[in-house]
């Protein structure tokens, strides 16, 4: 294994987090962990990649060696873990049986699975040689499940009987009208009996059993009502920890329709997005770098040193500020009284004058004199518009590999925006780019990931994640089209010096039915972390309705080359967004407020191949966006 592979192995577990051999040594408690450890039901809400599966699996009885070592706090709970398999639970519905009967079959199935996990827990406790003066009596569990097993039942014999029962249930589910219906166990009862048996045997000690259910959104409304009942009625030594996506709780009903679950009465709600992500992610990175360092890799355990930022002035120079500054110097050379002022200004600052002129007019001389007279005002202006000017600098730089940098720990935290999987992937891919075999690290040198490598990695991750959108949920195809169109519009905004700086959020306007349709898709996008939503702030006019403010998840920003910082918003008509589905060319024109663009002609392409400063539509489109030209220019000119 070379250095890149060795270092990468500390960050690559986002691909298959649980199977990673180093899980226990790399596990970092998320900031909400103490809340999750409370002995009462919790709903852990977070999108794919936010770490909820890792958090729930870390509660499993055998997850962390710390448990066996009696680490304080860790032994107070003993988790079992069940992932809701959509392919399987979807079998419990259909016209062949009344819904109530399917519900009973599903509850029985859930009981069988959960008791299987409890058998494994019991075996593990016995193997851990927990002191117990009593025998584990599973008789009541066996009876309540309606199954047969050798008496007295042990965890092992019960586990085998449970497998047989699942097989019988499978036969019935596949042929509910012809196969004899097995005896269904009553909702909750077997789990309660099992927990009580473990407590009575002394094996459990003072610990509470956490029944951890992951991907709760995969259950139907009726199935959630059943499990909600388990949660509502849970009592020590058994409680429930449920992981689900935003909007994944389809109902608060229980089997008794009048008895709803509510927070905080019945459960705690932990929304991962409102927990402090940055500290957690920073700790994750620091621990892993530290482990890498311990293994002999020459790397700092300070994530900020490992992922250096590019200061504004340096980035401006890398993006071509010197050329723009030289133009300013040349044009102002005849004004001798400005010579000292010009000499004191950096390339980035002089390029900024050019940017301001492009967006707001005026002569260079007027602007320079204004700056000279109002240093504070221009300092503020630079603060507000500086980042925006960096995007403009890239205009016309045909063939440039990097047209905006995305580097530094803070930037990666911002791009990941609460998603630990994205954060690890950004670092892992950066390592891969930086330590490519074509540019080996000099012997003895500390490994630092250059801003160029970080930027290339951010673009690569964004591209891969964009490719995944289509596979996310039932609106995946529509979400991908929305993301591409909105990304293209913000790309254009970012290069327009007359636009408000860093416009990258939007609110919806338009007819209620059209807004409702768009919001349906966007809501699915929020659940799948394609979009983010917050209540709108800073209303720009009294007539503006207080609506939700959306933005593309920042992980996509490096692909579309616009700012990842949540700043200003545009208003998009729902009607225009819906047009993205059938006529993206017209839709993008309507959203950006520009005339419809045409696909690059052969002449334009030929011009692009020549060395020319003249800008064209095709010239403006970076290579990664040009891949979607069929989409951007798709659709007719007609309504």
């Amino acid at each position: 294994m070379n250095t890149a592979q060795s270092l990468s192995s500390f960050f690559s577990d986002y691909r298959s987090e649980w199977e990673h051999k180093q899980f226990s040594s790399l596990f970092v408690e998320p900031t909400y962990y103490a809340k999750l450890l409370k002995n009462r039901p919790s709903l852990l809400i977070g999108g794919r990649g936010t770490g909820k599966t890792t958090a729930l699996k870390a509660l499993r009885f055998d997850a962390l060696p710390d448990r066996a070592e009696g680490r304080p706090g860790a032994t107070d709970c003993l988790g079992i873990y069940l992932r809701i398999n959509k392919n399987r639970v979807s079998a419990f519905q259909g016209d062949e049986l009344p819904q109530s009967e399917w519900g009973k079959a599903f509850a029985h199935y859930f009981n069988l699975l959960a008791c299987g996990e409890l058998c494994r827990l019991a075996s593990w406790l016995a193997a851990e040689k927990r002191h117990s003066s009593k025998v584990l009596d599973l008789g009541l569990v066996v009876t309540s499940l309606g199954i047969q097993t050798a008496a007295p039942a042990s965890p092992d014999t019960l586990l085998q009987a449970l497998k047989d029962a699942v097989a019988r249930l499978e036969l019935f589910v596949n042929n509910p009208r012809s196969v004899e219906r097995p005896a269904f166990s009553v909702a909750e009862a077997p789990l309660k009996h099992f927990a009580a048996a473990l407590a009575d045997s002394g094996l459990l000690g003072s610990a509470t059993i956490f029944c951890c259910l992951d991907e709760y959104e995969n259950l139907t409304v009726e199935q959630q009502s059943i499990i909600n009942t388990y949660l509502k009625h849970s009592e020590p030594p058994l409680t429930y920890k449920i992981g689900l996506r935003r909007n994944g709780l389809k109902t608060r009903s229980t089997i008794d329709d009048n008895d709803l679950i509510a927070t905080p009465d019945d459960y705690d709600e932990i929304d991962i997005s409102s927990e402090s992500f940055d500290d957690f992610a920073r700790n994750v990175a620091a621990l892993r770098l530290g482990r890498a360092r311990q293994s002999g890799i020459n790397v700092s355990d300070d994530p900020e040193a490992f992922l250096p930022e590019l200061p504004f002035k340096e980035e401006a120079v890398k993006l071509g500020a010197a050329k723009r500054a030289d133009q300013v110097r040349h044009d102002l050379a005849k004004h001798a009284d400005l010579a000292n002022w010009i000499a004191a200004k950096s390339d980035a600052e002089l390029a900024f004058i050019k940017f301001w002129q492009a967006g707001h007019g005026g002569t260079l001389e007027e602007l320079a004199r204004d700056w000279q007279a109002n240093e504070n005002e221009w300092h503020t202006r630079l603060g507000n518009y500086g980042v925006s000017s960096l995007f403009w600098l890239s205009k016309g730089r045909k063939g440039a590999r990097i047209r905006k940098y995305y580097s530094g720990l803070r930037t990666f935290l911002s791009l990941a925006s609460g998603n630990i999987r994205y954060f690890l992937e950004l670092i892992d891919v950066s390592i891969g780019v930086a330590l490519d075999s074509s540019a080996p690290v000099p012997a003895g040198a500390e490994i630092v990931i250059a801003p160029e490598a970080q930027t290339e990695a951010a673009k690569s991750v964004a591209k891969d994640r964009l490719a995944q959108i289509e596979a996310l949920g039932r609106h995946g195809g529509e979400l991908r089209r929305f993301a591409l169109a909105i990304g293209k519009v913000f790309f254009e905004f970012a290069r327009d010096p007359a636009k408000a700086p860093e416009t990258n959020c939007f609110v919806l306007s338009g007819e209620p039915d059209q807004r409702e349709r768009v919001e349906g898709v966007l809501s699915d996008g929020v659940a799948n972390q394609v979009f983010e939503v917050t209540p709108a702030t800073k209303l720009t006019s009294p007539s503006e309705m207080r609506a939700e403010e959306y933005r593309l998840h920042p992980i996509y920003c490096p692909f579309f080359e616009f700012s990842h910082r949540r700043k200003r918003r545009a208003t998009f008509k729902a009607e225009s967004l819906l047009l993205v589905l059938s006529n993206p060319r017209r839709a993008i024109a309507a959203l950006s407020g520009k005339p419809m663009s045409s696909p690059p002609t052969q002449t334009e392409l030929a011009k692009d191949n020549a060395d020319s400063d003249e800008e064209s539509e095709s010239d403006e489109l970076p290579a990664q966006l040009a891949m979607f030209a069929d989409f951007f220019y798709g659709g007719s000119d007609e309504d």
Partner: protein, 310 residues
């Protein structure tokens, strides 16, 4: 020619007389695709309506079937009702061209049980509908939306894998790249082995390249390029054999099968799942087919899945 299991007949313009007069013919009502219903089935209805089972309605759980002219509702998970579709005849032709997977798969299962000789008919389309503004590498516009991952009626495997660390995901890839990815996401975390199957040769010479191109992102993401296996797009028997090869190469591996490629390949996968119920699990995404997704009528394939009662 002697009838035998594994035989494929290819017909350019099938006539009613190409199908045994004693057989029951099961086919769909006219759909929005040219190939969804062969003209010869109209001839069969005219000549001998009592030998026809025409599927006139397809919903998630049931089908409406005109059996010998009398319409009835049949549950897709009711073996006895499904058996009635085959009218107790020894020979059966089941045309799957106009039927959704969740409809023909249970029919194939029951047809294999109740018929002495089961033939499955499939009509290739001439063309697929191109997408006017593709947002991905998927260049055809075949589905309006994806219903979501769920099993096929009667194919639920609740037991699951004995050992997930040995499981294998086998998607039979088609032209809609997002479908393999969507099914794969339901498997999070992905099994250690991913072995895609691509239809080679395809219905047309360029189709295998199109399939690879449309699924490029999936193949990249799961580093599955060098795992790809090939089987003729129009042959269920080859698909079946490839699955047997995978089973031989990965003994004891639980197989997650995603039949999202051509229908003949899906038929091979479903047939394989019927014969290996303990260690296979079908995962299907139930796309909503776009009207007129294909046009024209290509060759007709008639596959013998069962002959002489075996």
């Amino acid at each position: 020619m002697k009838t035998r299991k594994g035989l494929t007949l290819r017909l350019r313009h099938p006539r009613e007389s190409d199908f045994s007069a004693e057989a029951v013919c099961v086919f769909s009502a006219l759909g929005t695709e040219d190939r969804s219903r062969l003209p010869c089935w109209d001839d069969r209805i005219s000549r001998d309506p009592g030998s026809c089972s025409e599927i006139v309605e397809q919903d998630a759980s049931n089908i409406g079937v005109k059996i010998a002219g009398k319409e009835e509702k049949v549950s897709l998970r009711d073996r006895d009702s499904l058996a009635r579709v085959f009218q107790s005849r020894e020979i059966a032709y089941l045309d799957i061209s106009g039927l959704a997977h969740h409809v023909w798969a249970p029919l194939v299962r029951v047809g294999l049980e109740v018929s002495r000789e089961l033939w499955v008919v499939y009509v290739e389309p001439s063309r697929y509908r191109p997408h006017p503004s593709p947002a991905s590498a998927t260049m055809f516009d075949l589905s309006t939306e994806i219903g979501g991952v769920a099993g096929l009626p009667g194919f639920a495997n609740l037991k699951g894998a004995k050992d997930e660390t040995k499981a294998v995901f086998v998607p039979l890839l088609g032209f809609e790249g997002m479908r393999a990815r969507q099914v794969a996401m339901a498997l999070d975390p992905m099994p250690p082995n991913v072995i895609p199957i691509i239809g080679v040769p395809g219905f047309r010479i360029e189709y295998p390249f199109v399939a690879v191109s449309c699924n490029q992102e999936f193949l990249d993401e799961y580093a599955a390029h060098d795992q790809v296996r090939m089987s003729r797009a129009s042959c269920p028997f080859e698909a079946y054999r490839v699955l047997e090869d995978i089973r031989r190469d990965l003994p004891g591996a639980y197989m997650y099968l995603a039949p999202i490629g051509t229908k003949p390949q899906a038929l091979g996968a479903v047939w394989y799942a019927i014969e290996h119920p303990d260690d296979t699990e079908i995962m299907y995404d139930h796309p909503k087919r776009r009207p007129q997704r294909t046009s024209g009528v290509g060759p007709t394939h008639v596959y013998c899945l069962k002959a002489d009662g075996s």
